[in-house]
C-alpha cells in the first residue's frame, strides 16, 4: 500500500560535512510542493567531526510535532550507523552508501535496504576530495528525489537559488544530483511505497525559524538597541536582527542606521546596555539562554525595582549548568520568573510558533514600556533554531507603539511636582520622564536602593513597604495585560495544560487519546502572571494534566504559587531528554494515568460515537 506525505525521515551526518544545505533543500522542496513539514536539527556542541542528525516530519494532516520512530534513515555517518539502523521502525527504509558491503551484524531483516554506491559515483566525477565529500550529500538528495517522487524541477530550482552569486557551483551540483537520481531510477524500485505528492495543505504559510521571526517582530515593534552575547541557541536571534535591520532599517537617503547593535563582552553587559537604553527611552532587547539569564539576574532585579523597561528573549536549552547546550528544554521558568534577590517577579510570555514569535517580538516591547519592567519571552531551541511552518506575518499599519506613561516637556509644564513613583492611576505604574526632557522639572535619580514616591532615597520602613506593595499592584495590572491563554473547552471532565513548543505535538496526542476514549479540554498558557481565564479553566476541570519539557514541572510550580493551588490538583506530563516532547510521550503518560487510576473512558468513547 502506498502512503503519501506521511513519514519521518532522518539524515545522519558528520558535523561540518556540508550536509546542512542539502538537508535544508530537501525539506524546502517538500514545502514548496505544498506539503506540511517540520525540521529538527539535532546537532552537537562542535564545529566539525561529531555526529549530527536532521529530521524532517512530513505530514499531510499537519502533525508537525515530534513522533517517535524513523521511517526512512539516510545513514551517512559510520560512527552512528548501528544506532541509526536500530532507530528505524519495522518496515522502514535504510538509505546508505553501499560502496562497501554492509557488515552482517548491521543487517536487520525487518527493514528495507536501499543501497546507493555514493562514494563510487562521485569518485570519477569530482577530482577534488573536498568537493567529493560535499557532493555526496547532493547525490543522496538526487536519489531521494526519485525514491520519494519529489518534483525534480522544484529541487533543481532550489539549487540555482542556493548558489546564486556562486554560479560556477550550480552546474556541478545539478550534475551530482542527477548522478544520484539516475542511479536510483535505473537500479532501485522508484518511487518507494512511502512517497510524496503535490498538495495544497501548506496554503500561504511560510517556513521560518522562531529566532528570525522574533528578530523581525522586534524590528516592527521599534527596537533600536540590541545588546547580546553569543550563546547557543539564541545567537541567531541577534544575528537575524542585524541581517534584517540592514535591509529594513537603513535611511535610504543617508545610509545611516536606525539601530545600534552591540556584541557585548558578556551577558551582564548585554543586560546593562539594554537597561541603560531603556532608561533613556530607546526600545531595547537582548537574547540569551539559561546561563545568560543566570548572569543577568542582578540587573533584572535592578530593572524590576528601579522600574525600567527591558525585553529579554530566553531561548531555552537543557541545563543545569552547561547541561546539553544544543538540546531543547523548557527549564528556565522558575529561574526567569523570580530572577534576582529579594522579592522579585517578572512577566513571562510563551510563544509556540514563529508567527507568535513575530507578534511577541513587538508586543513584548509595548508591554515592557507599559509596565516599566523587564519582560522575558520564553522560547526554546526547538522553536528558535528550527524551520517551522508558520502563518504569514501581518502588521496593522494603524498600530501605534504603546510607549506607556512617559511625560513630555509640555506634560511637565502642567505638573506641580513630578513624583516618579507615585501611583496616580491606581494601577501600580507611575509616570516616568526621560533624561533631558525639561530644564527645570522631571529630573530624578534612578537607583536600586529604596526611595519614596518622589524618588528620594529613604530607608524608612513605611516607604519601603508602600513601594513593594505598589509593585504587587503593578503585578495585578500585568495579569490583565500579558497574553491570554488559548482555551478549547467543551465541558469535559479532564483538561490538559501546555505552553510553548509542547503545542506542536499536542493535536496529534489529543487525536490519539480520543481514539483511546480519552477526550481532553485544552489550555495553552501564553503569559505569566496567569489571567483569570487560567484560574477558571483549572477550577472547572476535575482532572488536570500539565505537559511540559523539564524534570521539575516548573510551570506547575508557577501555577501552584501564583494561584495558590493544591499541588496534587495537577498531574505532570513530563519529558526532559533533550529532544522536543513527542506526541507518543503525551499520549502514553496521559493514558497510563487513566489506566493506572481506573478512570472511566468508555462513556467518553460513546460520546465520540454518538
Amino acid at each position: 500500500m502506498t502512503t503519501y506525505n506521511d513519514f519521518v525521515i532522518r539524515f545522519a551526518n558528520v558535523n561540518g560535512s556540508g550536509s546542512a544545505s542539502a538537508n535544508g533543500m530537501f525539506a524546502k522542496a517538500l514545502f514548496r510542493m505544498g506539503i506540511p513539514v517540520a525540521t529538527r536539527n539535532i546537532f552537537p556542541s562542535n564545529i566539525e567531526g561529531l555526529p549530527t542528525w536532521f529530521e524532517v516530519r512530513v505530514s499531510e494532516r499537519g502533525y508537525l510535532g515530534r513522533r517517535e520512530g524513523i521511517d526512512i534513515m539516510v545513514a551517512m555517518n559510520a560512527e552512528t550507523f548501528e544506532e541509526d539502523i536500530a532507530s528505524i521502525v519495522p518496515g522502514g527504509y535504510l538509505v546508505y552508501d553501499n560502496s562497501k558491503e554492509l557488515r552482517p551484524n548491521f543487517r536487520r531483516d525487518d527493514i528495507n535496504l536501499v543501497g546507493i554506491p555514493i562514494s563510487q559515483l562521485v569518485l570519477p566525477e569530482f577530482p577534488n576530495p573536498k568537493h567529493r565529500a560535499l557532493f555526496k550529500n547532493i547525490v543522496y538528495l538526487g536519489a531521494l528525489s526519485a525514491l520519494l517522487h519529489i518534483d525534480f524541477e522544484i529541487i533543481k530550482g532550489m539549487v540555482s537559488a542556493q548558489f546564486k552569486g556562486k554560479d560556477e557551483l550550480i552546474a556541478p551540483n545539478i550534475h551530482a544530483m542527477e548522478l544520484g537520481r539516475s542511479y536510483a531510477r535505473e537500479y532501485l524500485e522508484c518511487p518507494l511505497p512511502i512517497q510524496v505528492r503535490h498538495s495544497d495543505a501548506v496554503g500561504d504559510r511560510i517556513m521560518i525559524d522562531g529566532n528570525a521571526a522574533a528578530a523581525i517582530g522586534a524590528i516592527y515593534g521599534g527596537a533600536t538597541v540590541c545588546a547580546w552575547y553569543p550563546i547557543t541557541p539564541s545567537t541567531s536571534l541577534a544575528e537575524a536582527f542585524e541581517q534584517h535591520c540592514a535591509r529594513l532599517r537603513v535611511d535610504p537617503e543617508t545610509g545611516e542606521r536606525r539601530y545600534a547593535i552591540i556584541q557585548a563582552e558578556d551577558e551582564l553587559a548585554a543586560m546593562g546596555i539594554v537597561i541603560g537604553a531603556g532608561w533613556n527611552g530607546a526600545r531595547s532587547f537582548t537574547a540569551t539562554s539559561g546561563p545568560g539569564v543566570s548572569l543577568m539576574t542582578e540587573f533584572l532585579g535592578l530593572a524590576y525595582f528601579a522600574e525600567i523597561p527591558a525585553v529579554l528573549w530566553d531561548i531555552q536549552r537543557a541545563g543545569p549548568s552547561t547541561g546539553m547546550p544544543t538540546r531543547t528544554q523548557q527549564g528556565d521558568l522558575v529561574s526567569s520568573a523570580y530572577a534576582s534577590h529579594g522579592d522579585t517577579r517578572h512577566p513571562l510570555m510563551f510563544p509556540s510558533t514563529p508567527r507568535e514569535c513575530f507578534e511577541f517580538g513587538a508586543d513584548a516591547l509595548d508591554l515592557a514600556d507599559r509596565l516599566q519592567t523587564p519582560i522575558i519571552v520564553m522560547s526554546d531551541l526547538e522553536l528558535g533554531m528550527n524551520d517551522n511552518l508558520s502563518e504569514p506575518f501581518t502588521w496593522d499599519d494603524s498600530r501605534r507603539y504603546d510607549r506607556g506613561k512617559v511625560l513630555t516637556e509640555e506634560d511637565l509644564d502642567d505638573v506641580e511636582r513630578f513624583s516618579r513613583y507615585l501611583d496616580v492611576d491606581g494601577d501600580g505604574v507611575g509616570y516616568r520622564t526621560l533624561p533631558g526632557t525639561h530644564a527645570e522639572k522631571g529630573a530624578f535619580f534612578t537607583r536600586g536602593t529604596s526611595r519614596d514616591e518622589h524618588a528620594t532615597y529613604t530607608e524608612q520602613p513605611e516607604h519601603y513597604i508602600k513601594n513593594m506593595d505598589r509593585l504587587l499592584l503593578k503585578w495585578e495590572t500585568a495579569r490583565q495585560l500579558v497574553p491570554k491563554a488559548e482555551i478549547e473547552a467543551h465541558g469535559r471532565r479532564a483538561g490538559i495544560l501546555y505552553y510553548g513548543t509542547t503545542a506542536a505535538p499536542m493535536q496529534e496526542a489529543l487525536d490519539r487519546l480520543a481514539e483511546d476514549g480519552v477526550q481532553l479540554d485544552t489550555m495553552r498558557i501564553r503569559g505569566f502572571p496567569f489571567g483569570n481565564e487560567v484560574r477558571e479553566f483549572i477550577d472547572s476541570h476535575e482532572i488536570l494534566f500539565l505537559a511540559e519539557q523539564n524534570r521539575d514541572a516548573q510551570m506547575k510550580s508557577l501555577l501552584v504559587n501564583d494561584l495558590e493551588l493544591d499541588p496534587a490538583s495537577i498531574i505532570p506530563v513530563l519529558y526532559y531528554g533533550g529532544f522536543s516532547i513527542s506526541a507518543d510521550t503525551i499520549h502514553q503518560q496521559v493514558l497510563d494515568y487513566y489506566v493506572g487510576n481506573n478512570l472511566p473512558r468508555l462513556d467518553e468513547v460513546q460520546e465520540v460515537s454518538s
Binding site: I206, A212, A264, A269, A270, W279, A282, A306, P435, T456
Partner: protein, 351 residues
C-alpha cells in the same frame, strides 16, 4: 537622615554664565560623604566645569555603579537624570544610555573598586567601544563603604590604616585606557582644582571616550602615613606633564607660550584646548610613548598627572556603528516600522 535638599538662594554677586545661570544651578543635593572626602572636590570641579562651559544643566545623563564615588552624581547637576546602577556595571548602563540618545552629555562616575575590580571587564570594553562620554574614576585605593579593604589600585607595600602592607601589584587604569583605545586620557588629583577643572571641561567637549583617573584620597581609611594615596603623599609625588586650558570661542587668547612648549587643539564646539607641556620631551599624541612614560614614572613611585593623551580625530561608537544623527529614542513608528507592505516581501523570502 538620608537626604538633604540644598537651599536654592545664592550670593547676589555670584558669577552668571552665558545661559544666565550661576554655579548653584549646577549643584545637586548635599553630600553625605565624610568631611574632607576627595570625591566632594571632584563633584565641585564638575559643577564648576559645567557652569563655566555654560552647558544646559538638564542635558546630562549621569551614571554610576556602587560605592562612595558612585553616590556623587547626586551631588552635582540636580536638574539632570542620574542612574546609580549595580556594582561595576556603570559602563554597560552608560553604553545603553549613550546609544539611546547621543545628544546628551554623558558623565560616568566610578571608583577604583567599581572599575578596577568587579567592573574591570566592563571598563575595558567601554574603552574599546569609545563611547562618547566623560568617565571619571575617583581613585582612593580603598573600599570605603565596607570600611577600608585594599582595592586593586592600591600600591604594593602601601599600608592599611592598621599598618598592614598590601601584598599585590596595583592595576593602573591609565595604562589600560591608553592600551585599548581611549582617545582622551588624563590623570589628576582631587586636591588640584586648577588642573582638574580644565581637564573635566576638555573631557566633556571631547567627542569620544574621555577618561580621567582622579586620585581622590579617602580621609577615613587611606589618608595615613604609609598610604600612597594620601593627600600628603600625592602632593609630594605627583607632577604634571601636560596641563590643559580650555579657551572659549569668544575669549581672546592673550597669553603666549613658548611655541615649542604649547599646542592648540580645536574642540568640536569651536573652543580651543591649549596644551602646556611641562615636560618638554612629552608628546601627548603618542600613545606608546605615553604608556612608557607613565609606567616608568610609576616604577619610580611618582604619579604623572595632566592630559596624557588626546586624539581629537578618533571616532566614537556612534560613528563606528553608523547610527543616525537623530537620537534613537526620538525615532517613531514612521522611521522604525517598515509597515505591512514590506512584510509581504519578508513573507515571500520565507516561502
Amino acid at each position: 537622615m538620608t537626604f538633604v535638599a540644598k537651599p536654592r538662594t545664592h550670593h547676589p554677586l555670584l558669577q552668571v554664565n552665558d545661559l544666565g545661570l550661576t554655579r548653584r544651578d549646577y549643584e545637586g543635593s548635599v553630600s553625605t560623604l565624610c568631611a574632607g572626602c576627595g570625591h566632594d572636590s571632584v563633584s565641585a570641579a564638575v559643577v564648576q566645569a559645567c557652569a563655566e562651559l555654560a552647558l544646559p544643566p538638564h542635558k546630562f545623563a549621569k551614571v554610576s555603579g556602587i560605592g562612595c564615588s558612585s553616590k556623587t552624581p547626586s551631588y552635582f547637576l540636580g536638574n539632570s537624570h542620574g542612574f546609580n546602577s549595580v556594582h561595576g556595571r556603570m559602563p554597560s548602563v552608560a553604553t545603553g544610555a549613550n546609544l539611546a540618545n547621543r545628544e546628551l552629555y554623558c558623565i560616568g562616575v566610578s571608583g577604583d573598586g567599581d572599575s578596577a575590580s568587579i567592573g574591570i571587564g566592563q571598563f575595558a570594553h567601554i574603552v574599546r567601544r569609545r563611547i562618547n562620554m566623560l568617565y571619571l574614576v575617583d581613585n582612593n585605593g580603598t573600599y570605603g563603604l565596607t570600611k577600608g579593604q585594599f582595592s586593586a589600585t592600591n600600591d604594593r607595600g602601601s599600608t592599611s590604616k592598621k599598618g598592614v602592607p598590601n601584598l599585590y601589584e596595583p592595576i593602573d587604569m591609565i595604562s589600560m585606557a591608553l592600551q585599548i583605545g581611549a582617545s582622551f586620557v588624563a590623570r589628576s588629583f582631587s586636591g588640584d582644582k586648577r588642573q582638574l577643572v580644565p581637564l573635566i571641561k576638555a573631557g566633556l567637549l571631547h567627542e569620544g571616550f574621555a577618561f580621567i583617573d582622579v586620585i581622590s584620597p579617602c580621609v577615613a581609611f587611606n589618608n595615613h602615613n604609609g598610604s600612597t594615596k594620601s593627600y600628603d603623599y600625592i602632593r609630594a609625588h605627583s607632577g604634571s606633564v601636560v596641563d590643559a586650558d580650555l579657551i572659549a570661542p569668544h575669549d581672546e587668547i592673550t597669553v603666549d607660550y613658548d611655541p615649542g612648549a604649547s599646542e592648540d587643539v580645536d574642540m568640536p564646539d569651536g573652543s580651543t584646548l591649549r596644551l602646556r607641556k611641562l615636560a618638554h620631551d612629552y608628546n601627548p599624541h603618542d600613545r606608546v610613548q605615553a604608556l612608557h612614560y607613565v609606567q616608568r614614572a610609576q616604577e619610580e613611585g611618582e604619579f604623572v598627572t595632566g592630559l596624557l593623551y588626546v586624539d581629537p580625530t578618533a571616532s566614537d561608537c556612534h560613528e563606528i556603528l553608523g547610527t543616525t544623527q537623530t537620537p534613537l529614542n526620538a525615532l517613531g513608528e514612521d522611521e522604525l516600522c517598515p509597515g505591512n507592505a514590506a512584510l509581504e516581501g519578508v513573507n515571500a523570502s520565507f516561502r
